[in-house]
């Protein structure tokens, strides 16, 4: 097998990619990928080599990645909008043979000394007229992609995903009832392709079925709505901040009429945003759950009835067990850490056997660090992160629950809750609040909506809260 072959079977005249004014058919894409393989071979890129892709959501990215797969090398997409030092700091541990530079990172070409690694300018790619090297045959467990992540551990790591990992998730998404991915689907790729959801769901899975991928280089709410309408996008995947922007836009009600599957991931979607999307555009946003370490998807609401706040059901073929602190499966209906095993689970962290062993067992169980529960019908719900749980007098306090309760106050704009040491109760709850709200009033509000031990004992009022681009609160920045 080789993921490079996912584009081989599709009609040459079908549109594969749209990037601004440029459109590429599957036939043209295959030619460009062939040329890319030739170029990589000429640069002595060999099977197993690591190739950094400093490309944005652009055609060059797809061509480069499939080319890298084709020669048996490993693609390592990085966010090209990162500052140069951060980009280099992330690239160096990957020990790349080559850095492929796309349009949006072309400034790197002018700073070779800062980059300090050999670069390949994608704008110079031309068909050299040579016969391309054959696509290298890979084993399912052969590495395909390196992705930077701080997901499970909170410490930056490089996850190794194999051809088999990514392909299994892509295949699973074609088997989700009436919302399965299919050839006439159009996907808007506005999530960064250096993120596993953008990479494997918005781009690769759509190409696998012969669909059309509309690339948006950087998220812009008006532009994305224009693209959805112009290209009749059917598959829309976004993070909660994107959904919020769409929900707040003043676009016509039929702007998303073509969307048949809307998916939110990377963080919890707020209830009002869900309601607004349904009321404004008639779009029911289904949440999903996954990690970089699971090749993007553990559970999905795709093809299922909408259950607000649920992240759907596990993909068939994945074992998902909820366990307590002792590793024992919890009672049915109770909360526990989500532990996953199956073909989408990654190979481990690059050059980090201890880090890998801390979350992945030899027989394939991935300890996700997320707390969740199943309802009676098998729908999965997320509760919080294991390491964020605050323990007050022995009782677990899930910050997300407290944050949601505080956010219900009309004057609270944002809330991030952390624990801090307390001499009497072990830990106590501390709330960081943005918004013009009176502390006494908020304390009273909390007491009316939360059990006593969950009520914050300290309040800090700030202008801005640390929130990741995905919408997740960055609690570690507020822990004292």
């Amino acid at each position: 097998m080789n993921l490079a072959r996912i584009i081989d079977q599709h009609p040459a005249d079908d549109l594969a990619l749209v990037d601004g004014a440029e459109e590429v058919t599957y036939g043209q894409l295959r030619e460009r990928v062939d040329a890319m393989r030739t170029l990589l071979a000429n640069r002595s890129v060999k099977p197993g080599d690591h190739v950094v892709l400093a490309c944005g959501n652009e055609i060059h990215f797809v061509v480069a990645m499939l080319g890298v797969f084709g020669v048996g090398a490993v693609a390592a997409p990085l966010n090209p909008y990162s500052p140069i030092k951060e980009l280099v700091r992330k690239a160096e541990p990957m020990e790349p043979t080559l850095v492929v530079v796309g349009d949006v990172a072309s400034w790197m070409l002018e700073r070779p000394d800062d980059v300090g690694m050999p670069m390949l300018d994608m704008s110079q790619i031309v068909d050299a007229g040579e016969a391309p090297p054959a696509v290298v045959s890979c084993e399912p467990s052969d590495p395909a992609v390196l992705l930077s992540t701080s997901g499970v551990s909170g410490v930056p790591k490089i996850a190794v995903l194999s051809h088999g990992n990514l392909a299994w998730v892509q295949e699973a998404l074609t088997n989700c009832g009436d919302q399965s991915l299919q050839r006439d689907d159009v996907s808007l790729a506005t999530l960064p392709v250096a993120h596993v959801l953008g990479l494997n769901v918005a781009v690769l899975a759509t190409l696998r079925v012969g669909g059309k991928v509309v690339l948006q280089r950087r998220f812009d709410v008006d532009e994305s709505l224009r693209l959805i309408s112009e290209h009749q996008v059917t598959m829309l995947t976004g993070a909660p901040p994107m959904w919020q922007r769409w929900a707040e836009s003043d676009a016509p009600a039929d702007s998303m009429a073509s969307v048949r599957f809307a998916r939110s991931g990377a963080a919890a979607l707020q209830g009002p945003v869900f309601e607004a999307m349904r009321e404004r555009f008639g779009v029911e946003v289904r949440e999903g759950y996954g990690l970089t370490e699971t090749s993007s998807v553990v559970s999905t609401g795709r093809g299922l009835e909408v259950r607000q706040t649920s992240v759907g059901k596990p993909l068939p073929g994945l074992e998902v067990v909820l366990v307590d602190d002792d590793g024992e499966p919890v009672d049915f209906g109770d909360v526990g850490e989500i532990v996953v095993r199956g073909p989408g689970v990654f190979q481990g962290y690059l050059n980090d056997p201890d880090g890998t062993a801390s979350i992945l067992t030899e027989d394939g169980w991935l300890w996700t660090g997320d707390v969740g529960l199943f309802d009676d019908d098998g729908f999965l719900y997320l509760v919080d992160r294991v390491k964020d749980v605050i323990i007050v007098s022995g009782f677990n306090v899930y910050p997300a629950e407290v944050e949601t309760a505080l956010m219900a106050h009309p004057d609270v704009r944002g809330a991030v809750v952390v624990g801090t040491a307390h001499g009497k109760t072990g830990e106590t709850v501390v709330a960081h609040i943005s918004g013009a709200v009176d502390e006494t009033e908020l304390r009273q509000f909390a007491e009316e909506h939360l059990s006593r031990y969950k009520c914050p004992t300290e309040y800090h009022f700030v202008d801005e809260l640390p929130v990741a681009p995905t919408g997740k609160p960055v609690r570690r920045e507020l822990r004292s």
């Binding site: 706040t309 074992e319 590793g327 062993a357 801390s358 300890w367 022995g394």
Partner: protein, 288 residues
């Protein structure tokens, strides 16, 4: 030794046990309890005099099932082993005291137990359930199982937290007899209503409500709370009415359970734990 609380007998012809026998048995037992022991009750105003409610005490001694009902102003029901119905000594008396026999063998036992409890609550009666599931052997208050909360949600009934002290001195573990002329304190807390803790259809509500209940019980009993289940894993769910809700038979996916908790409907699977450089039992990432 103590004054018996006002008691209003509540007929329940649709539930097991003869009303007539029950009337005499409860009168006799309650009078005996208050004659032989000093039962000090607080918070009785928190127990509704009509309508459904779940009575949720801490569990330290076998005799908790005697003293807590004796402190109530109404009849109360609980689930007991079906085997009691095979013994002539208990087959009439126990149902009259409020025990509802449930056969707890077989795959549908848990559902049957909970359906029975729901029938009691839907009939507007009191139902007693130990949230810890079994007796605490170390005197601490242990993590609550979610069955009581799920029943409260299902039947829209309040949970009454109960914290008592003294029963373990009256009848220590392993003792058949109860020492007379001792003091037992039973404190009833304010009702917890499911709707006050979140959306009724949010499955997270079960654990949220259970933890709130245990917090109140800890305050009422003065026990230290520990976030682990009481008893040995293999012996969990032995007490009446505390089995976990079983997944529906047609659920497309279901979390696997270990053999010790399997009710015969699912293949047990226990994931192995990752190796940990610091300790053999926890992933390194989880120790920080």
């Amino acid at each position: 030794m103590s004054k018996r609380p006002d008691f209003a007998f509540e007929p329940a012809p649709n539930l097991p046990g003869s009303d007539r026998l029950s009337k005499y048995a409860l009168a006799g037992i309650n009078a005996t309890v208050h004659r032989l022991w000093d039962v000090q009750v607080t918070g009785l105003e928190n127990v509704p005099l009509s309508g459904p409610a779940l009575i949720c005490p801490n569990h330290l001694s076998f005799c908790d099932s005697v003293f807590v009902p004796a402190a109530l102003p109404r009849r109360v029901w609980a689930i007991g082993k079906g085997e009691y119905m095979d013994d002539w000594k208990t087959k009439h008396l126990f149902p009259a005291m409020g025990m509802i026999p449930v056969d707890r063998t077989g795959g549908k036992a848990a559902m049957e137990a909970l359906d029975t409890a729901a029938r009691v609550l839907d009939g507007g009666h009191l139902f007693m359930i130990y949230p810890e599931g079994t007796r605490s052997r170390d005197q601490n208050l242990h993590k609550g199982r979610t069955g009581a909360a799920r029943l409260a949600i299902r039947c829209n009934a309040p949970l009454i937290p109960v914290g008592h002290q003294g029963t373990v001195d009256i009848q220590p573990p392993g003792k058949f007899t109860m020492k007379p002329f001792q003091t037992c304190k039973i404190n009833f807390g304010a009702p917890l209503r499911p709707a006050d803790f979140g959306e009724i259809d949010d499955p997270r509500l079960g654990r949220r409500l259970t933890d709130a209940l245990m917090f109140e019980i800890a305050k009422l009993s003065g026990q230290t709370y520990v976030d682990t289940y009481a008893g040995e894993k293999k012996k969990a769910f032995e007490e009446p009415g505390t089995r976990p809700m079983a997944p529906s038979q047609d659920a497309p996916t279901r979390p696997t359970r270990p053999a010790s908790r399997s009710n015969g409907t699912s293949a047990p699977t226990k994931p192995t734990k990752p190796s940990r450089p610091t300790t053999p039992t926890r992933p390194t990432a989880k120790t920080s």
